[in-house]
Assembly symmetry: none
Homo-oligomer: 198 residues x 4
């Protein structure tokens, strides 16, 4: 299995670094190879082509997101708590690896339609976790009985994505993780003042 050989991960990590430092369109295979300490041709022993490298970067990293998030939400009882730790985990991973943040929030979005389509496929796992929390919250009566799951999922994903992108565009100059509880409150309660909610 190629995925488990050391050079596979070496190339993936090199790609993240090169894309973050040079931008998507300046991330040539030769740069990635040099960064990984292998020959250009070696990359083609592990990946079908350049697109495959980029897809794999996203797959590997997104798998890590999903795995981490599944672990932390398992330890929480309520849907509300699950959402909170999900937001925290998401933001923590990005904060801990700002190069990864640049790559996923900005650079990989410049890819062409084919690649973006494949990236969307990978995203589905993440969105499933999110929808399952929303279902769970509805069942428990935490969330409104008429909550439109798909729309709520779009709101939540859109919000954390926009929050993370804005943070990257502001060059990480504030604490992203600290925003998690505030985002959480906003998602749960909305903008409205409690008095007006009657």
């Amino acid at each position: 299995m190629k995925r488990n050989r050391p050079k596979y991960k070496q190339i993936i990590e090199a790609a993240v670094v090169v894309i973050a430092e040079n931008g998507y369109h300046q991330a040539q295979i030769s740069k990635i190879a040099r960064q990984a300490g292998v020959a250009d041709g070696t990359i083609y022993l592990y990946f079908k082509n350049k697109e495959d490298v980029l897809i794999s970067v996203f797959q590997e990293k997104m798998a890590m997101f999903v795995e981490t998030i599944n672990e932390v939400i398992a330890g929480k009882e309520t849907a509300s708590e699950k959402l909170l730790v999900m937001f925290e985990s998401h933001f923590k991973i990005l904060s801990a690896d700002t190069k990864l943040a640049i790559v996923t929030q900005l650079e990989l979005r410049q890819s062409n339609k084919d690649l973006r389509f494949k990236i969307n496929e990978v995203l589905k796992d993440y969105l499933s976790v999110l929808e399952s929390i929303l279902e769970y919250g509805k069942e428990r009566g935490e969330f409104a009985a008429d909550l439109d799951i798909r729309l709520a999922r779009q709101m939540i994903f859109g919000t954390i994505d926009e929050t993370a992108t804005t943070w990257v565009l502001n060059e990480h100059k504030y604490d992203l993780v600290a925003l998690a509880p505030k985002v959480h409150k906003l998602i749960l309660n909305g903008c409205i003042s409690e008095n007006a909610a009657s």
Copy 2:
């Protein structure tokens, strides 16, 4: 003023059509020129370079968004109503021009970091309108007194952006405008059930 000469708008409209039909990376200057009925070189009499064409597409269209939205929100008393008509207007414009929707939601995002940075500059007008509604809602006591304006703006923009993008990715097969009230309710009240909100 070049902006007012007929060929200026002609080229802008041609660019929208070409990008929508061919995708960002297949939108060559020669295609745009052919679609606009002018010679390649003529484009350079009206625009500095290709990036300038793309920026201008976004500027022209976004100016229309802001103008339209300013008009409709002026006729509404409450911040809540203003938000609702804002969402409706936003979705109506995209629904009425699916090519424009494809261009702004999918294709222009494939541009490189420089161009996206400039696009974000243009977006600021739109975001200002949004923030001013939020401020207004706070002043009136409609919205929570401790509402973080910037975060709320990110939530709202992220939500409608994600909603619109998902609709485009689903090839406009459902009614986007019909989602406006539901998005509005979600933004205002959050996911939480009213009983649990105590």
Copy 3:
């Protein structure tokens, strides 16, 4: 019509020179462009791709062969005479342009199957002329009534092709045109001695 613009022929001639001097596999587009005194990209204004350049070289030159041969055979009464002037013309053209001879006899044969298939299509015009002479000779009673036209055509073409190739491989060190009457006699009478033919 691109075929008539001066750069079209300029590029064709440059291709012949470059292929003859460097060999088929070392005939890069950049070399051909330099030889033609144009930019690499200019070649793609006149030809679809590299294969198209090579096909066109063959088409242009073969058209010249066919045209010349049609002219000279028109002036002859008998099939035998037509064949003789055909051989002479064929050999004269190759002798007058040894670079062309190298290209058609040796280099273009190294092309891949697709290209060779297209080259064979072009060759059909030439072979048609040959077959029509053979038909004519049969009708006139010059050639044997039971002559298998297709086989005779293969003999004649195979013979002049092999003769020309051998001459090129021997670096043109003898007079190819002088062989025409001898080839002609051999083709007409065969190897057999006249006494034995009874």
Copy 4:
């Protein structure tokens, strides 16, 4: 002697199969190795380089041609009969192994000038046999006293080569061996009708 070890022949046979099935330019060393059931590197224990493999294919097969032909012509008295059985043998070998026919008539001709030059060296043995028959025929008075041996050799080789190639290009859809007597008659008597030969 490497030639006698089993893997040597194994690689040669694998090369014929791979070239016939994939074409000259798609006959990579790795494919030949896989077909032969050895590792890529093993090929370099038996052959100096890829060119050496291809030359050796031609040498081995051409040696078989020469050997077979020498056997059959030894059993014939006249030069005319020798030529006939030579043509029959040549065509029989190709008919019996259509992969070999594809390789020698089409694929190996795509090789570069160096390789083709070496292939021509190998061909000389075959051509010698042909020339010796012609000499023999002249001595016996079967062939014309003024027959130009070299030219006749070129005619004969060109004819059977073209005949064989045409047959391969027509995907072996007719009986090549059946053509031998007709080719033989044509070579011996030429195109001319017997009445006109006076």
